[in-house]
């Protein structure tokens, strides 16, 4: 099912891209998140990041399957994360779709700081965001890394007061990936 959704997603957003020109497609990527509350640090990681950048009009799309996050300190947190907060059966992916602000030629080798402006969709709630990332291009391979924060109330994820000492309102996210020119 998830696979199917992803295929639909890729098709819908990339149909336009392919028609226009060259794209970078993500073949390796991970997302790591960290909640640093006063009492507890909760971390998890997924390596199922999917993504695509159209280098002609600088548009891009990134997607992650919420259920793919692993590495919670206890199974309880994983259940809490999926069932109570992310409602991952209902909202299976998080996506970030938009355009890169800087007008850089991404076929050229080099290291850049680029800002991507787009809609970040988590828990079914879209928020417009600018996300800064470090990008390096070499021989048709694009590596990117980015750190940013997500505020739970921006995405209608509500926490009972009691767990706020354990789960932070602000979640630190780190995204890394490698893309190849296609």
């Amino acid at each position: 099912m998830i696979r199917l959704i992803f295929i639909v997603f890729i098709f819908t957003i990339s149909a336009a891209f392919y028609s226009k020109g060259k794209t970078y497609v993500c073949h390796k990527g991970q997302i790591l998140f960290k909640s640093e509350a006063s009492l507890e640090v909760i971390e998890a990681k997924s390596e199922k990041l999917q993504g695509i950048i159209n280098i002609d009009d600088r548009s891009f799309a990134l997607m992650i399957d919420i259920n793919s996050f692993e590495g919670f300190s206890t199974p309880f947190y994983k259940r809490l994360f999926n069932e109570n907060y992310m409602e991952s059966t209902k909202y299976q992916q998080a996506t970030f779709v938009g355009k890169i602000i800087e007008k850089r030629n991404l076929e050229k080798d080099g290291a850049y700081t680029l800002r991507a402006k787009g809609k970040l969709k988590i828990h079914g709630v879209e928020q417009e965001r600018i996300i800064k990332s470090q990008v390096s291009v070499k021989d048709g391979t694009l590596n990117f890394e980015s750190s940013f924060s997500v505020f739970l109330n921006d995405h209608d994820i509500t926490l009972p007061k009691i767990v706020q000492q354990k789960i932070s309102e602000e979640i630190q996210v780190n995204v890394k990936g490698q893309m190849r020119l296609k």
Partner: protein, 969 residues
Amino acid sequence: MSIRPIILSLIIGCLALLSNAQSPFFKMHQIGETYRNAKIELIFEAQNSLLWIGTSEGLFSYDGLEFVPFLKSDSTSNHVRSVFQNEKGVLWVGYHDGTVWYLEKQQLNKWEPEEGTPSVPIMGFAEDHNGNFWLASYGEGIYYKSENHLYNINTDDGLLGDDIYVMKTDKLGRIWVGTDGGISICEIRNKEKIINNLTRDDGLPDEIVREILEDDDGDFWIGTYDKGVCFYDFEKEKFEYPLSNWDNGIVSKLEIFKDRELWIGTEGNGVWLLSLLDGTLQKLSNQNQLSGSKIHDLHKDIEGNIWVISNLHGICHANRQFEFIPITTGADFENIQSILADRENKVWVGTEKGLFTHELDELGNSFFTQHLKNQSLNVISLYEDNFENIWIGTFGDGVYIFNKRTLKIRRLTEKDGLSNGSILSMNGVNDKIWLATLGGVTELQLNGDPLENGSLSTRNLNQEDGLGTNFIYKVFVDSKARVWFATDGKGISVLENGSIKNFQKAAHYHEDEPGSEEVLLKAVYSITEDQQGHIWLSTAKEGIFEFDGKEFKHLTVKEGIRDLAITSLITDKKGNILIVHPTGLDILKPETRHLIYYDKAVGIEDIDPNLNAVCKDRNDNIWIGCKNGIIKYLPLNESLEIHPRTRLSNVSIFLEPIDFHSDTTFLYDQNNLVFDYLGLWYTDPSTVKYRYQLVGYDRDWIFSKDRKVTYSNLDPGTYSFNVASTENDAWLDEPIISYSFEVLPPLWQRWWFILLVLLSAGGIFYWYQKARDKRIQRVNLLEKEKAESNLAALKAQINPHFLFNSFNTLVTVIDEDPKTAVQYVEKMSDFYRTMLEYRDKDVIPLAEELALVKNYTYLLERRFGENFKVNLNMSVEQIYLAPLTLQILLENAVKHNIISKTKPLTVNIYMNGDDYLVIENNLQLKIRPEKSTQFGLQSLIKRYELLTGKKMKIEETEDTFRVEIPVVK
């Protein structure tokens, strides 16, 4: 509205003189050699009225005298593109490289939002009604910071362009940006971006919007690329076009003087002034070659100065209240004797060489046109009657009445009834005109236009009628239609209800001086009236008098009048009195008596003004005729600052700057203070003087031109540093800036410390005394108890029973075992000897006491055999006992208990914990008790209490007797 075509002189036979331009006097400012090549981008006035200059080489603060650089702490470019101060007062700086820095504690700090900052130039900042912080970029649209994040709005969101030229907040709190495609109006409502666009379809004359300026009503003036300027009325939500056609190039900047004029800065075509009074457009003349400049910024400051930043001249400023129109060399007249602005605002100038009008050509240059050239007039007074005829008063040739349209002329001389042919001043109301002559006053009654067959009648007034003298300098009609005459030598005369009254003397009355003396007014030169209806007059030598109808108040050098050779007084529309004299202009605010001096810094120099050559035009401008030209004074509608703004800029202790807003108490050795202060007066910064006083140190004000003062070695105490600044030596109403602080006395001089020391010394002394008493008492007691205890022990041992028993025992042993007997005697003598030895000691070690007890026990065991037993169940410890303690207790046990084969007595001696030695025996009291004084036990209890402070515990049950002795350690 349209540009009124400028009519060149129409009168045949007139002479056009090209003169220098009409322009405020600009002064240039150089940043200094180090930054010679810096491109000046902008000027910004902070809330504290300090100026900030943004350049390609960095940010500078400017107080009118000194540029102070503020540079980034990293090595990136310092090219400033925008400066902004938010509501909290934080100064934000946007750079060409896209970074944003803010000023905190006099240092630039980088702003680093998580989302990063643009990589293209920052063009401006704004704050909206929700407190969101906005920035405009040239290439990436606009950004806003809301709560946690930075967001972007660009063409993808519907913005008209990503290159933003200008960003302004409107009165509804929305953000307006000027782009290449028009104006986008943005706001954030419920986190939604709402963008409304204004384009050509909405009436914007040009898509490219370079500048937006807010006026005092909150409406916007918009500067465009090609089509000049338009106006947006928020009430009508419509554009208006004050300029019908514009071909002066790209509008880059705008500035406005309320209800007077709009300054339009262009890209390469200098500055243009759009009059808001009559809609005319005029170029700011090329006096400073601003005409070919690219104008980078325009700024009006709080004193009424206009600052112009241009590519050719960097920073320059001028006081907008003044223009000077010089008479160029080569013109065949000088020395303007009289001046008049007629109903059409044409300015007429009377000179020795005749009558001229002042004109402006299309380029904004002034020139003069001569009239009535054939008459060779020496014009000394001018007046316009109700029929728009110009009355020309001459020196000796009577009056000419002239109409500029019909060109008709009529002359009046003594023959027509004038009292004298030299007319020094004219004034009138309705159909009455008074001529002030050298032979008295002529009152004319007009019946119809005197140039169109109207008749006129004359009546002469002179000394006989009550005038002071027949030599009249000025005639002035006040708001109550009273006519005042300034006479030479005899003060002023007033014509009221047909009769004349004369005032010659004034009480010399100063506000800050008790008592008064009489002053003769003598020659009065000029008269004016303030808004309260008080009459003001200037005299030849005595300065100025204010007459409120009852008494005269005197203003002279003491009150700050700079020059007593006053030629004219005139009241502006705000009620200020302009005092004209050869040194320049003093502007007096009658209510507060505050004076501001204006002279060469505003372009007024070597003016040598003529008597009463002043007039007011229909726009309330005041024109002052001088020897070398005309001063034009424009009363601005802004409420201008009249004081230099005094600021305490820094306080340092031993050259270390401190945060003086919060630090106000210093230690006794932090007593070397430096105060830096300044008085911001951009009109003429070099005239600013200071006075300061450190209250608590200085006995009086100290006057100085320095902007720094050092106080060293201040004694502990409270102080207030007061400082004020002035630009004109009038200190009375200058606001005082005060900073209070305290130098604490050293620790050992503070009252609480002294008190504490005294109290604790007293306490220690008291405690010592008490302890000493107690110790002495205890020693005494101990001595006594010891003596008693020893006595008891001795008594016990020399008890005949003991001896009797001992000897009985001895007798039995001698026969059976002589050796043991010897031993017995030895033990007995040991016992007695040690007892005598220990008698005087306070304490003895437990070991020694035990040795004594063993001897004693030996003696008793010999006597009672198996029936008496002492169990010593302890290791010898480092503890002490009072001597003979155990012996006395054993003695007691033997004394009071039955000891027999059937009832043996067992005494156990052992330690209970570390602190108590226990001696315990089974209790089997003798049926007939031996006589006892309890003396031994009681004295032991007391001794131990004195030695250890603890009580001996005595427990008596049915079958045991137990004593716990608190041991001495």
